[in-house]
Symmetry: C2
Subunit: 406 residues, 2 copies
C-alpha cells in the first residue's frame, strides 16, 4: 500500500496508484492541471520540481502530452512522493467544488470498431442474409475519422441532432428519433511518429499517454440514410463525450493482459509480443439503471494494434490525438454497449428502474458510463471516472433558418 496523506474514502479508486490528470476551474475562475486523490483535487504544479512546472501550469495537458514517456514517469513519481511525504499534508479542494474541463486539445479523433461481438451484432442487424463480419474485419482494425471539434467533456448537454431521414419513399428533416449511446474506451496520444514510419505495436506505451471513457453518441436514423458509401458523418458528428480524467497508462500497467487469440494471425505489422489487452470493467446506466456491464479485456483488436494500424500507411499522429475502441459489447445479453444492440434496433425496449421503457434515448435521459480496473492482490481499484450526458430537446427552428426567414 503506497503511503498517502490525503484522505481516501474506503474502496476509493482514486488512490495514489491512480493519479489521473484533469483540468479544473475553481470558484475564482483559475484553470489548472490537477490530479484527483480520493474526493479532492491536487494542483499538479504544486507537487513537481520547478523544471517540470511549465508543462503543467497552463490550461490544458497539451505540453505534458507532448513531453513524452520519460517526463510522464518523472511527473508521476513526484506526485506519488509528494503525497507520501507527511510534511506536505494540507487541506485539498473537494472535487465537487471545481468544474472539470476538456483536459486536452483533441488533434484527430479516430473511432475504431474493434469489438467482435458488437461488429457481429451490427452485421446481423444490417445484413441479416450475409456473413456478419466483412472480409476485412479480422485482417485489420476497421476504423474511421470522427469530428475532433465536437469532442466535449462529461456533463456537456447532448442536444438532440436534427437531420434527414428516410420515411418510406420520402426524405424528411426532423429531430433524430433513434438517439443512441456507445460505450467506448479512448486512448490519448503523446509524441507522434515521423511521416512514413509506422509505430510498432510493442512501442505503444512510448506514444499513448492515457485512457478515457468515450460515449460516441449516435443518431441511428440519420446514420442509416447518410452512411453509404463514405461512412458515418452527421449521425455521429454532433457530439462525443469523454470523461474528465485521463488515467495514465502507467496506472494500468498491472492491468495489461493477453488479448483474445486472433485467427487468422494478423499481418506482422500488427503483431505484438507484449500483452496489450486492458482489464477494465465497464458499465452503462440510463437514469441510474444499469443496463450493461461488460469487460474490456476481450476486445479483439488492442489499442496497441489500433495505433500501429493508424500509422501503418505512414500517417503521422500528434499529441492530443484521440482514438477510441468502438462500441464495447460482450458475448451475452447483459453486455451490450449500445441501445441498437440492447433493443435489437428498437424492437425490444429495455425497462428502467422506474418502470418506463426505452427503445432509444428520450429528452431528459441521463446516460452515465463508468469504468474501473479491478483491485488486484489487495490493492484498491483504479477508477476511470464517468462520462455523463443528458439529452436536451432539439432547439426549435432558428429564426434565421430558411423556413422562417422567407
Amino acid at each position: 500500500m503506497t503511503a498517502c496523506w490525503a484522505p481516501l474514502p474506503p474502496g476509493s479508486g482514486f488512490g495514489p496508484g491512480n493519479l489521473p490528470y484533469g483540468v479544473a476551474v475553481d470558484a475564482d475562475g483559475r484553470t489548472q492541471v490537477v490530479t484527483r486523490v480520493g474526493d479532492a483535487v491536487l494542483t499538479v504544479a504544486d507537487a513537481v520540481e520547478p523544471s517540470l512546472r511549465s508543462l503543467v501550469d497552463g490550461p490544458t495537458l497539451d505540453p505534458l502530452l507532448a513531453a513524452g514517456p520519460d517526463t510522464w514517469r518523472r511527473v508521476r513519481e513526484q506526485l506519488v512522493d509528494h503525497l507520501a511525504e507527511p510534511r506536505h499534508e494540507r487541506p485539498l479542494t473537494p472535487v465537487a467544488d471545481v468544474g472539470l474541463l476538456l483536459p486536452f486539445t483533441v488533434g484527430d479523433y479516430v473511432d475504431f470498431y474493434s469489438s467482435i461481438h458488437h461488429a457481429t451484432n451490427l452485421g446481423r442487424l444490417f445484413r441479416p442474409d450475409a456473413e456478419p463480419l466483412l472480409p476485412n474485419w479480422r485482417r485489420l482494425p476497421v476504423g474511421y475519422h470522427g469530428r475532433a471539434g465536437t469532442v466535449a467533456v462529461s456533463g456537456t448537454p447532448v442536444v438532440r441532432p436534427t437531420g434527414l431521414v428516410a420515411e418510406g419513399d420520402e426524405v424528411v428533416r426532423r429531430p433524430s428519433g433513434q438517439l443512441d449511446l456507445e460505450l467506448e474506451v479512448g486512448f490519448v496520444v503523446g509524441p507522434g511518429n515521423e511521416p512514413g514510419h509506422p509505430i510498432d505495436p510493442d512501442e505503444a506505451d512510448d506514444h499513448v499517454f492515457g485512457v478515457v471513457l468515450v460515449n460516441d453518441w449516435s443518431a441511428r436514423d440519420l446514420q442509416a440514410f447518410e452512411y453509404q458509401p463514405l461512412g458515418p458523418f452527421l449521425g455521429k458528428s454532433f457530439l462525443t463525450t469523454v470523461s474528465p480524467w485521463v488515467v495514465p497508462l502507467a496506472a494500468l500497467a498491472d492491468h495489461l493482459v493477453p488479448p483474445p487469440r486472433q485467427e487468422p494471425a494478423p499481418d506482422p505489422s500488427l503483431r505484438a509480443e507484449r500483452p496489450w489487452g486492458l482489464d477494465l470493467e465497464l458499465e452503462v446506466a440510463i437514469n441510474g439503471t444499469i443496463v450493461t456491464r461488460t469487460c474490456f479485456a476481450d476486445l479483439y483488436w488492442t489499442f496497441a494494434q489500433q495505433l500501429a494500424h493508424l500509422t501503418s500507411n505512414g500517417a503521422t499522429t500528434r499529441p492530443g490525438d484521440l482514438f477510441a475502441s468502438g462500441t464495447v459489447s460482450g458475448p451475452t445479453e447483459g453486455e451490450l454497449g449500445s441501445l441498437i444492440e440492447l433493443t435489437q434496433r428498437g424492437a425490444h425496449p429495455v425497462t428502467l428502474a422506474d418502470g418506463t421503457r426505452r427503445s432509444w434515448l428520450l429528452d431528459g435521459d441521463t446516460v452515465t458510463l463508468g469504468a474501473r480496473a479491478p483491485g488486484l492482490r489487495g490493492a484498491p481499484p483504479i477508477d476511470l471516472g464517468q462520462a455523463v450526458g443528458t439529452i436536451v430537446a432539439a432547439p426549435p427552428r432558428s429564426p434565421r433558418a430558411p423556413g422562417a426567414r422567407r
Copy 2:
C-alpha cells in the same frame, strides 16, 4: 484597374484584386503572414494599422481566421490602400526567395463528394449493375471526416503508403500499387456556430474565409479493401496537399455564379437564395503534361450547402476547419479529376508528353494542381496558385518493424 506600385508581370493572377494570404519563412528563418503581389511577397503586418497587427504577426493565419468577416474586410482594404499609395513603394521579396508553410492550423478536415460526374463515374466503376448514384446523393452533400493532422502544404513529399490489399484470396501488405490524385477545391472556415444552431447557406460568407486547392491523394487498393462499412481511412489518411495561398472569398465575389439546378429540390435547410457556385478553371498536370482541364462552377452541391449540411445536425465548426469539394470532374473525357476515372480503374492508361503511360502514379511523378478564376470585363484573372506533390518510394521496412526486429 486598381492602382498598385508593386511590379505585376503581364496577365498576373496575383494583382491587387487577389491578395491571397500565406505564411512565408525567409532566408533568416523569420516566419510571417504575407500576401502575394505579382511574383513577390508583402508582409501583411507592414501594411495594416497597429490595432490589426497582432492578428497577422504570428506564424499562422489562425488569429485572422478567428477574427471574422468585418476584420477580414478591414485588413483587405488596408492592403489594397497600402499597395495603391506610391509613397509606400519599396522592393519586395521575390516569392522564389521564401519558403511557404502550411498557413493555418487545420481543425477538422471534411471531404465531400459533390461532383455528380465524379460520383456517377465511381458508382459505375464500383457497382456496374446498379444505379450509379445512391438514394442519398441528391438529397444531401455526402461527406466524411479526413485526417487533419496529415494536411500539408504544397511541395511536401508524397511518401507512397504501404498497407493491406486483397490479392485473390490472400491479403498482403505492400506499397500501394494504385496511387491516385484527386483534384479538389477546399474552403477554410473562420468563426463557427453555436452548438445546436446550424449555419444558413446564405450566411456562408460570414464563416468562410477563403479558398485553397486540395489534392486528396488516394491509394485505391488500400481503400478498396478497408472501406466497408465505415468509409475511407488509411487509403487517404497518409497525406492531403493544399496550396500555400488562401484566396479570400472576397477576391472571388465577382465569380460567384448560380449553381446547377438541383432535382429533387433539396431540403429547405440546404436551400440558398444567393448564388454560391464558384467560377474557377481547374487543371491537373502530371510531370508537366496536362491530363485534365475542368471547371468548378457546375459542382452539384455548393460550398455554402456543404457548410450548412456540416452544421445541420447541430455540430459546431471552428476557425481552421477545412472542407473540400470532393474530386471535381466534368462531363467529358478531358475533365476527369482522378486517375481512377481517367484510366477507368487502370484499364486505359493516359499517355504523358514523354511517351510514357500511367495507369497510376509512379515514384518520382510530380502532380501539379492549378486553378484560376477567369478575368472578367478586362480585369486580370485571380490565381489560386498550385498544389504540387512528388511521389517518393515507400521506405524500406524499418529496422524496428516486427519482421526485422525478431
